[in-house]
């Protein structure tokens, strides 16, 4: 069924977003909330290239990844010398400023967005083909995240997160490591954006606003910050659960509030009872 495939594609896209965001915030300890703008850069680059040049989708999506990586490096070299609250504010400024630009430029379609993105992989099996591609890409991103975080580089990144000065004293360059994981994470967000644009064939600035940060962050926290499988489970739960509620045959006036109630209750319950998330292990000295 196309509906299941469509939900699966969305879960796959959010797995890529949550896994890549987890690398930045969970492993790297970089408090940024600009992830949706890299998602947007990937989506808009792929969509505009597809519309204006007619290039194959693979090339357009690759270009989207490239633009997201370049933009992330530009942000990283100017802001990653600061951390904590300062980085948070800098990333918020980047997110809001760039989205305002997208919202006000003619070639991006302004607030109306882009609705004539070319159809790729037509036919009755379109949804399933997209699901297979998205699932494969999500697995690649998870594998890369797992491989990079399991080795010496991953240990150095975690050391940097826990004590940047001590890490530097051991001869590691924290700044270069930050740029690398930031570029990798944002590039993956660009990949998710390209897939999103080609699958849904419609993008507008409001799909990439700062509320997306909250959604992706909740996926990461719910599943387990700084774990490989946590964001995967978080993305699955937060995309599938609202869909499942629509099958309960409840009045339409109840479904929305119920979805909101379950979403916020999950966040509160996990923050108090299981702050390490679904798959995380309790940290010594942390609140139980």
């Amino acid at each position: 069924m196309e509906y299941l495939a469509s939900t699966g594609v969305l879960i796959g896209i959010y797995i890529i977003l949550a896994t890549s965001y987890n690398l930045i915030i969970g492993y790297g300890g970089l408090n940024t909330i600009a992830h949706p703008i890299f998602f947007a850069l990937g989506a808009y680059t792929a969509a505009l290239l597809g519309i204006d040049t007619g290039l194959p989708a693979v090339i357009c999506i690759a270009a989207g990844i490239g633009v997201a990586v370049v933009a992330s490096v530009a942000l990283a070299v100017t802001t990653l010398r600061v951390s904590g609250d300062y980085l948070l504010i800098a990333s918020l400024g980047f997110q809001l400023g760039l989205l305002q630009a997208v919202n006000n430029l003619d070639f991006t379609g302004g607030p109306a967005g882009l609705s004539n993105i070319p159809l790729t992989l037509g036919g009755p099996a379109r949804g399933w083909l997209y699901l297979m591609i998205t699932a494969a890409l999500a697995l690649v991103v998870i594998w890369l995240a797992q491989r990079s975080m399991a080795g010496p580089f991953g240990r150095a990144v975690r050391a940097m997160r826990d004590d940047e000065v001590a890490c530097a004293a051991l001869g590691r360059g924290p700044f270069a490591m930050k740029v690398v994981i930031f570029a990798f994470g944002c590039g993956a967000a660009g990949l998710a954006g390209g897939m999103y644009a080609y699958y849904y064939q419609y993008i507008s600035p409001e799909q990439f606003n700062v509320a997306q940060s909250a959604t992706i962050l909740t996926m990461v926290v719910l599943g387990g910050l700084g774990t490989i499988w946590g964001p995967v489970i978080g993305a699955f739960v937060l995309v599938a659960l609202p869909q499942a509620i629509t099958f309960l045959q409840l009045p339409s006036s109840l479904v929305g509030p119920l979805q909101g109630l379950i979403f916020t209750s999950l966040v509160i319950v996990f923050l108090f009872l299981r702050p390490q998330g679904l798959v995380g292990t309790p940290v010594a000295g942390a609140a139980p």
Partner: protein
């Protein structure tokens, strides 16, 4: 014998009617989907749309349904957000097996359009007025007039009938605002007027002093504001700045709540409406009576009139398909729409669907006089 027959006949007619009615109710219903914001900031309108659909569906079913089959509506929430609408549309099409979906809000209509075109599902817009909606593909139609209908009429009226020569155009920076403002500017200019200011404001803005002062510099004799729920604040701040020019707006301004919020500052405001009132159409009075049973005044009555009528359009499409013994598919419903083309609708009157995916409707102009919307003119 005759007496016996008559008695049997008299007894059998209600029994047959009851049995027929029960049979109709047991028959497979004609299902359609509705994607509306039942939560989120737009839920005030969305829930009232849904309530009106329910009233219309009940009215149709109470009158025998569609070709003896009941009409059934499945509503899914979109929060007026495109990303939620996409999955909801997929669910309606793939799980609930609907062949026609009613949508509103420009970004939702646009987000659902590729799915409608891909799956050959008829999408009917009943509340969004972005001019782009006419170009979204072969399965996307509107039963609600797009911005060019009322904004064109208003701009021409302001220039030619009211004799205004210099206009300032202020608009909300979203799809609706940009599209409507551009039409107003182009029509007013081509009619010989001059647009002295063309300024956008952020949809989340609460202070409009900057754009209002820019407008004041041009010394306009009319200010057209193409906004949504923030319209009362813009007008109130304009009056506070001493700008006493004539203000015009489109159908979103035709709302009794605006009068309550603005008080005397609303005097002279000219707005458009795309639907007749209860005084000129008794069916509207019937709708208002139904709303009295709900216990409160509805939000945006003209939009609700279109909500009711879009349900009637859907019922007419199903009836045509049934009459022609065709399977209920989006393709056949689209065929029905183009074959019927002219609909005589209870709440908004005649509707003609044109080949360019637009519709023709008269425009009603109102001016605020003594705290009331007073008819100003009707432009056919």
């Amino acid at each position: 014998m005759t007496e016996k027959l008559s008695r049997r006949l008299v007894l059998s007619v209600p029994a047959a009617l009851w049995a027929g009615g029960a049979f109709a109710q047991q028959k497979e219903p004609f299902r359609f989907g509705a994607l509306m914001p039942t939560t989120g900031p737009e839920a005030g309108y969305g829930l009232d749309f849904v309530k009106t659909y329910e009233m219309a569906v009940k009215d149709i079913n109470d009158n025998g349904g569609v070709a003896g089959r009941p009409l059934e509506m499945i509503v899914l929430d979109t929060q007026a957000k495109p990303e939620l609408a996409i999955n909801a549309a997929n669910k309606l099409i793939e799980v609930n097996k609907v062949s026609v979906i009613i949508t509103a809000w420009s970004s939702v209509v646009k987000a659902v359009a590729p799915i409608a075109n891909r799956t050959a599902t008829l999408e009917l817009n009943m509340g969004a007025n972005s001019p782009d909606i006419a170009n979204l593909g072969e399965y996307v139609y509107t039963v609600f007039p797009l911005a060019e209908v009322d904004v064109t009429a208003l701009a021409k009226y302001t220039r030619e009938k009211l004799g205004k020569t210099k206009a300032a155009v202020l608009y909300i920076n979203n799809d609706t605002g940009i599209g409507g403002a551009k039409i107003y500017r182009d029509v007013f200019t081509s009619a010989g007027g001059q647009v002295v200011a063309f300024e956008a404001y952020d949809p989340k803005a609460t202070d409009f002093t900057g754009v209002l002062l820019k407008a004041r510099v041009g010394n306009p004799d009319v200010v057209h504001i193409h906004g949504l729920s923030e319209l009362p604040q813009v007008i109130a701040q304009m009056r506070q700045l001493g700008m006493l020019q004539q203000v015009t707006s489109y159908s979103s301004g035709y709302n009794p709540k605006l009068l309550a919020q603005l008080g005397p500052a609303a005097e002279g405001l000219i707005v458009t409406s795309l639907a007749p009132t209860a005084t000129t159409n008794p069916n509207v009075a019937k709708l208002l009576d139904l709303w009295k049973q709900v216990g409160r005044a509805p939000n945006g009555l003209p939009y609700l009139q279109y909500a009711w009528d879009s349900t009637v359009v859907v019922a007419d499409l199903f009836a045509w398909v049934d009459k022609n013994k065709l399977p209920v598919t989006g393709e056949n419903l689209r065929k029905a729409l183009l074959e019927i083309r002219t609909f005589d609708l209870p709440m908004t009157g005649k509707l003609v669907v044109t080949d360019d995916h637009r519709i023709k409707k008269p425009v009603y102009l109102y001016v605020v006089k003594n705290g009331q919307f007073t008819p100003l003119d009707t432009i056919a």
